[in-house]
Symmetry: D3
Subunit: 196 residues, 6 copies
């Protein structure tokens, strides 16, 4: 048994020492989720990068899109699996399970997307994301055409690529920081909420 | 939403049509686990290979060893993650959580062993297993010496390599079959058993 | 001979149709550089992502750091070479040549950093950046220690990793868009400015 | 000139100290082949694993199949070449030459299967085996369909995959042990037997 | 700032100490180019290899061919980019720019051939060259047929492969020597020659 | 069973139609070896390249060197194994067996150099050759120093690299041509010559 590792390789600032906008954002997510995901604390070491990262995140994940909220998380989990990013696999795996009300889908996508319970359209989406993740230099017209044949619009295609690219950044930062997932994430979405 | 995929790409025999020894083994595991892990049903398509596989499995996993039962499962989960074998990651992840009484360790090892909560000795064990998994051709005296410096005996070293090699076989068969993990495995060992 | 390819696979908005803040930023860069780098036009297809990207960019590249402005560009050029991103190699190659007043350094770093005219400290910086770029999952204490032995502070190390991660995003987006470098970049910094 | 290396990195038990069933099996193979292949001696260090390995081996290689005995050895030689396993390339190369009465085929398959004197059906078989060997995670319906189009039954396909998986285990164990091929194997099947 | 590195890891002979035929060849190239490309000086350390290399070079590059002189240089620049050979990228990039009267094409091909301004026929030529460069073992009839469909003759195909193979040799020697490109090459062909 | 494949994908010229110097060289090798190695016939399709190739070959292989004739062939066989060149593995494997009077060494080096019966000095030589073969871009002072510590002179080091580079060319050409090894090579050096 080893002692728990710290949240991040870099110092994690005290909540009270943070700029007002960061503290408010963190308190809001805490109220909603019941805990503060460690990425918020670790990135707060650099307030300007914190602001830019979440602005980019919201621009891509909150905009109206031909992708559902669950599909966006599928992209994150599958590409984070390839990049072997523990934080993103565990944290976004939880979000994916909740959005899809599917306790199996995150482990499937993180381990081997080819075996995941996806529609053919979703498989095409993930195949494209994996190519942007690992071989973007060879993305060509054929890849774009394959997505269009499944009904993805050009803006949907940008979304798939953009989410992959943003979480490529996130995966590298999390691996650099040795960012530790909150324990809460591991179980979220795996068991039905108790009713009443 | 897609229909659930079958257990295996090949036919799964009816329990009553199986040779007596297979049926007994399957009923025994069902009694112990509460369900029949799909690998037993899928491999029963070939009774002789079923017998040989489980004989090999028991020879390596049940023998006395300098590795604990949990450590043996660590090897299986980490190498199955590299081989991207959904069945083995999910099923042996469950067993690992139970043996180690640690709900986090399986996801850590499957996603990125470098970030797992392991002792230095266990990290050395996993590093060696990953080299046998992906680059056995270059295993040399230096690799052996590194394990010995952590107190592993020569028979422990064989065990690490042997378990890796056996689950390399298992990973390839499971990926070939598209072997589907039982849903029960996904949750096992993640929540404390209710007491009383 | 083929017709010139478009700037981006996606539509490039008209400058007059852009939100005021984007138009101002673009006009400012045009005044300073003498032309509008295509990344500004192509990213303007998504104003929120444009704002977030340049906020992130400025947070990392304009902050005080133990890295010089030229060293930050060295990281961008070397990792963009590995990611085979034509836009970033050509555009940031130009900036690097200007900052370093060195007409050779960009081609050296884009082609083979091991052969570039760098100090040992800069080689250590680039080696680390290349590992974050291609193998972040295995970044460990040894890599951090190697940088510290060259006098890099912990915040410098974050900068090296952060710049690499941000341009990993940028490289993927540029390859996705088939973003075309402005012809001006190819020659910038290669010839001494005429005097008088 | 260096001294001959030992048969295995682990101790090789004395024939008289072995359990009766192992000794009988070894004496039988010696009578048939004229010498004891080193894998029998090296694996005898672990009698239970010895029994399981050869049970698995016989289950796959001795069963009736749509694959000829020579074709099964083709799979072993080609995949052992990819895994760079000296013992299996040399020992099964000999067996392949004898079964096929072809002194060239083993070196062709071990070095570059694409250049081997195979029928299109055999090339399809080897292509599939190489994918199970190196990329089993991506085996899909298209790969299965390609084999069926050459007349392979579903059980033949299992055989191709199973033999590949078993020798993937064998290759890893042999590389781990530094298992040394018997000198006899190098020449077997290369020259016509003298008649009369 | 670091001191300039030497031309080659090995001694560079004095021009006056060279065999007559080498000196003449070197003086001829100097007269034509205005300077002596460093490969001539570095290879002169081994006069017989110098003679053989340039004989091979001339046999492939000076013969009549269905490939233009510029197309032959495209092959060299693209494959040297993959092999990360600084000397060949910089020196042959210059020659390519001059032959094609195109200041952009060399940086495009060295960085990412998929994004270069090529005709479909030239893209097919480069795709084939890249396969000979990195995966010659799998060149097959399909690859040959693809070239024929673009009008390449069998001798053109040999030329593509031969140039790739020869510069594979050259790239390895230059990387071994740490062969330093002449500074003149970096700028050649980038700016229109002043007239009058 | 398939029909024997042709010697080369390109036409093989008639001996009588060849330039005098090629015909003489070919007849000389035939007299010495008892047969004409197919590389001589296949390359004769391009007489100038034939002359240059063998001039390069002789410059490297016939010069006095700190490497023995057998050691030079060890480099060829090991790197041709990595490049999966059937012709060079089989033909130079034969030459290596003869030079070293060792019927095992060629199969060892072609399959897995780490398991070959080499001296530590020869292992260092082969490690260096493999790096020039597959990763020349990263050859650095440390690699050179490792060879010097085994007593290799700077000219020996050039020889190791040069032979590797030349046979990298040869391997690519042979794979491009689908150059077929003469059957005689497979057996040469495997059995003691009959005496008397």
């Amino acid at each position: 048994m080893t002692a728990p590792k710290p949240i991040s390789r870099w110092p994690v600032p005290d909540l009270n020492a943070l700029p007002e906008d960061l503290r408010e954002k963190i308190l809001a997510v805490q109220e909603k989720a019941g805990f503060v995901p460690n990425i918020f604390l670790a990135l707060a070491h650099r307030p300007d990068e914190f602001r830019a990262f979440f602005a980019y995140h919201d621009a891509l994940l909150l905009r109206d899109s031909g992708l559902s909220k669950g599909e966006k998380e599928m992209i994150i989990v599958a590409t984070s699996g390839v990049n072997r990013c523990l934080y993103c696999v565990v944290a976004h795996g939880a979000i994916l399970r909740i959005y899809e009300k599917n306790p199996l889908i995150a482990d499937q996508l993180a381990t081997n997307p080819a075996k995941a319970d996806l529609t053919p359209r979703q498989h095409a989406m993930i195949d494209f994301a994996l190519k942007v993740c690992s071989d973007a230099q060879n993305i060509g017209d054929t890849d774009i055409a394959a997505l269009r044949s499944h009904g993805f619009s050009d803006d949907d295609i940008w979304d798939i690529g953009g989410i992959t690219a943003l979480f490529g950044l996130s995966n590298r930062m999390a691996n650099l920081m040795s960012l530790r997932p909150n324990e809460e994430f591991y179980l979220l979405g795996r068991v039905p909420k108790s009713k009443g």
